[in-house]
Every structure is written in C-alpha cells, then in structure tokens.
Symmetry: C2
Subunit: 323 residues, 2 copies
C-alpha cells in the first residue's frame, strides 16, 4: 500500500466504517467483530471486472452499488441479514480522475450502506496495469439451521421467481445500442439490481431450494436440478415480464430468449411444495413483490422451457441438460 493509497483510504473509506465498530477505523491489520449471539454467519465473495461485469465508463457510484448489491443478492439467496463487507479495489495505473472516481465510488457505497443497514469492515486498494476490478466480501447472519440452500427440491415442487425476468439483459442491449430507443427503466435494472433480502429472510420454512438468478433462468435452474438430481418444466408464458420488457420485445421479438438466458436480474428463484401456494401468495402481498409460479420440478433430469404449443424453447446443450 503506497502512501497515495493510504490517503484515499483515510479520506474516502474510513468514513464508511462505524466508529468503535468492527473496522477499527481501518487503522489495523484486520477487523474484529463479536458475532451476534445465537446467529450463524454467512460469507460470500464476488469479483467484478470492468468491461466484463460493468462498463469502465459506468458512473463510479453505480459500480459501487452494483458490486455491493450482487453480493447482497447472494446473502438474500441464503435468507441472511447483511452485517458488513470488506472491499478490494484494483485501480488502473495512470487512471484519469482517480480521486474523483474514488469519491463517486465511496458515495455509492455510502448510499447503499444506508439503504441496507450495513457498513465497511476493511479491505485493500492496489494499482493494476489492467482493467478496474472490485471485489466485495459480504458478511451476514442467519438463524441457526435456517440458511436457505439450493439442494432441497423434490419432484413435483412448484418453481417460483420473484419480480420480473429479462429486464437487465434487455437493459444491457439498450446500453450496447442493439435496442433503440434506450429504455431507462431497463437500463436501471441492469445497472442497479435489487437484492431480494426481505423475501429471502421470509422463505425459511416455505421454500425447499433457493438461489438468485445471476446467469439467467435456464442456467440457474440447472444448478437446483443438478443438486437434487431432478429436472424442471417451465412454461414460457408464465415467466413474469415488466411492462417495459413486454413493450421492447414487441419491437425486438428476436431477443425473447433473453428472458430465460439473460443474466443480471438478481431475482430469487425458488421451489416450494404445492401446499405452500397460499403462504407464498400472502408473502407476495405483504412484500408488495410479485412471486410467480412458472413451472414445476420433474423426476426426469431434463430442463424444458415450453411455449403454449408444447415445443421446448431451449436449444442444444443449454436446452437438454443431462446430469
């Protein structure tokens, strides 16, 4: 850590810590935390690379918020409550407006600390000859034994998703200019995912398997299927779309596949036995968040996304996934 890094840390990151809290004002080699009594701890870590996971010229504030939210979404998928995070930042050498960028980035962190009630515990800042990178380690807590898993689905369980799918992938197409005119609602869904923390925290005792959709419905349901040795039958017509997505797809019907292949929605995908349907309806109302049944788990280890004529819309390797 050069003295330049040291200045950045004390100026922009130390104010993001809780005084007298785990981060020890970022003056020490590590953070120290007394674990909340009677809770299990949950840990997850992601790394985001410029021009792969975000655009290098995205606003710094949005990059910060996305980096936090991607990890918060992993906590949501476990049913956890966020506690704090560690941050590693690799900034390109000779980056223009380096300090301005860090100022915007830390403002983004601060904004989402306030929204999600957590704080910075520690981290590291370095220079790189390559693209900017952000790695967040998120720490949360969950009631003992209540962490949600991906592996509990049973044949016959209903498959649900929260919110709407495809928005982020269509938003990305707006940003790359493949879809015009640009729809800002969809772009915002790409830039600023909404981790479904409250939903995750309520799914213990209801859902049998839970994960967040980061790589697209078709791929991600494969993880749940793979871990239980089951398949899935999804009705394309049931997949919930936002008004904005529906409208854009009228003009760009070729992008319809993005609803199940596009990533970055960070909605929760979960399975539940049929007798939980009323509880899930109740929960959707309480959270004011659509929870939509889109299909069911099957004994046969195939993944099918079928249209109203019964044809499977998945093709090739991605379509029929054998385990």
């Amino acid at each position: 850590m050069g003295s330049g890094e040291f200045d950045l840390i004390s100026r922009y990151f130390a104010p993001l810590t809780v005084r007298g809290g785990a981060a020890l004002d970022l003056t020490d080699d590590a953070a120290v935390l007394t674990p909340p009594a009677g809770r299990d701890m949950v840990f997850t870590k992601d790394i985001l690379v410029a021009d792969i996971h975000f655009f290098a010229d995205d606003p710094a504030e949005a990059v910060a918020r996305k980096a936090l939210r991607v990890n918060l979404s992993d906590l949501a998928a476990m049913g956890a409550v966020p506690l704090g995070y560690l941050l590693a930042l690799a900034l390109p050498k000779n980056m223009e407006n380096r300090e301005k960028w860090v100022a915007g980035f830390s403002a983004g962190l601060k904004n989402d600390q306030n929204i999600f009630g957590w704080s910075l515990f520690g981290g590291d800042t370095v220079s790189t000859a390559g693209p900017l990178m952000v790695s967040v380690t998120a720490i949360g807590t969950v009631a003992p034994g209540e962490a949600l898993r991906r592996n509990g689905a049973t044949a016959g369980d209903d498959i649900y998703v929260s919110g709407t799918l495809g928005d982020a992938a269509l938003g990305l197409k707006c940003l790359t200019g493949d879809i015009t005119p640009k729809n800002q609602n969809l772009v915002d869904r790409y830039l600023l995912p909404c981790p479904r923390l409250e939903l995750g925290q309520k799914l213990a005792g209801i859902a049998t398997a839970v994960m967040d959709i980061s790589d697209g419905l078709a791929g991600d349901i494969g993880h749940i299927c793979g871990l239980s040795g089951l398949g899935a039958e999804i009705e394309a017509e049931l997949i919930p779309l936002s008004g904005a997505a529906g409208k854009v797809l009228e003009s760009f019907p070729l992008y319809k596949d993005l609803i199940w292949t596009g990533g970055d929605d960070y909605e929760l995908l979960f399975t539940a036995p049929a007798h939980m349907a009323d509880d899930i309806k109740e929960l959707a109302k309480k959270l004011d968040l659509p929870l939509t049944r889109i299909g069911r788990m099957t004994q046969e280890a195939f993944i099918v996304i079928q249209d109203k004529n019964g044809s499977n819309l998945l093709h090739g390797e991605q379509g029929f996934r054998h385990f």
Copy 2:
C-alpha cells in the same frame, strides 16, 4: 460464472473445502458458519496483482501460498487463529495452460491449508483482459478483547521485531538480477513469507502495539507512531539480519537501506514496556524465533534510524516524519 469456471471450481476448489463444513461444498450462494463459542471473529482482505505483488511467471503454487500467507500474516498481527478463507481469482483471457496453472494453484492452497489448519469457505472465479489477480479474505478468531492493535504504544516502550529483516527485499533483487549470484534462501523468503501466527497468539498481555512488516520497517513503524502520536528511535546496528543477508550486503553495500525500507518480510513489529523484556526472551526461546529489541518509542514525533555514529540513516520525507 461461465460453465468453464464452474468446472474449474468443482474440480480444483471444491476438494479444498471441509465436507459438511462452512463452504457447503461450494454449491450454494454463500458459506454458512456457526461462530466458535466465546470467540471474536477477525476479518482481513488483500488483493495481489501479477507483476506488482508477484511475477506472472512465478510458480502457481507459490502465488497461492503467498496470497494465503500475506493474509495469515494480518491475522498473526491481530493475535488471531486462522479459521477459513474466501478466494477470488481473475484469470487472464486466453491464458496459456490455464487448467495447469489452476491445478498448481490449488495444490499450493492445499499445502498451506494443511500447514495452517484452515480451509476454503467460498469465492469467485472470473476472466479478465488484464493481469492475473488473487484476492483472499481471511477469517480468524481471537479471545474477546484480546485482539492486538497498532495503537497502544507509550513513550519509552521498547520496539521489537521477530526473525530477520531485509531478506525478502534482497531476495527480490536476486530475482530481478540486480544481485548475483542468486541466493535461494533470500528468494524463498520473498516467495514464501512465514506468517508469525504462534507469536501473535502469545503477544496478548505482553505487547502494547503490534503490526506485520509488509511495506518495510521505516514505513510501518510510522503507522504505530502515527496512531499514538509518538516517535521512534531505532538503532540500525540492532536490526537482526540473516546470515545470507549479511553476506550479500558485504558484496552489495548499496542495498543496506533495504533492511529498513524493503517490504515483504512479514515479520511482526511490536512495542512492549521494558519490564516485559524477560517474558519476551522466554517467548523467543519457547517459539525458537529471534525477538530482537531494536529501539524505543519516543515522545518526540520523529522516526530516527541511527547508525553507531548517531547519524540518522533515513533521508528526506521518509526520514523525518512529522505527524
């Protein structure tokens, strides 16, 4: 995470987890851990970039072990016992021998898991257009209230270092060809630091301030001084050198400054009141590790490293550091 990454994770990283442990076999969105009863948790996170913190063509096994050990050294400086770690890996696109590299890297992780008694909890693997990067988040535990801090030094406290200083910096000079013939002992000290975990765990109640030397003695003592508003007077003659370093410096006297300016030794630097001298001698004997008094903390906020004639060997800004 592409399906290629998924294969790498299941083939090379899942075997590094403890079956039925926190990592949930790396199948889930996050790791879950019941915190050890009656212990505080310690967290630290570093990021290492190829050709800044290690050479891109260093053996993959050595890169893995260094990445773990740099973080273990931070745990050591807090007096913590290692528990587990999360790993983020950014691999260059079109990397040659990618799988071979990952195989060597995971072998290095496995080696140091066995040595230090901890295991992989989770992480992320991505591709990058830039240099290879490794970020480790280390998790440890410490008895409540016994975490070692950097801020407790008092004027008159003795200053100690463990082991010998300058070896890693001289080893680096061997690798860059500035020092010939190459001395393998020094190179090994650069490639494979030795985190002083046992020492850290014994310093509670003895040391008033502790940190690890990653950036060099002169800079790092500045952190301890800065946090206590004190200065330091260090006797250059007292700084402990290895036999190999002493010998190399006879031929390359110009590199003598590296003893206090060179980084990467990862020895512990600590202060203690004079009446602890016997306990520290005892501890050194017990651990079979030199613990050498090199100077004392002073009321005046200057850092002095003086030779036997009383001249300050630190020059310019680095020499007289005002707070």
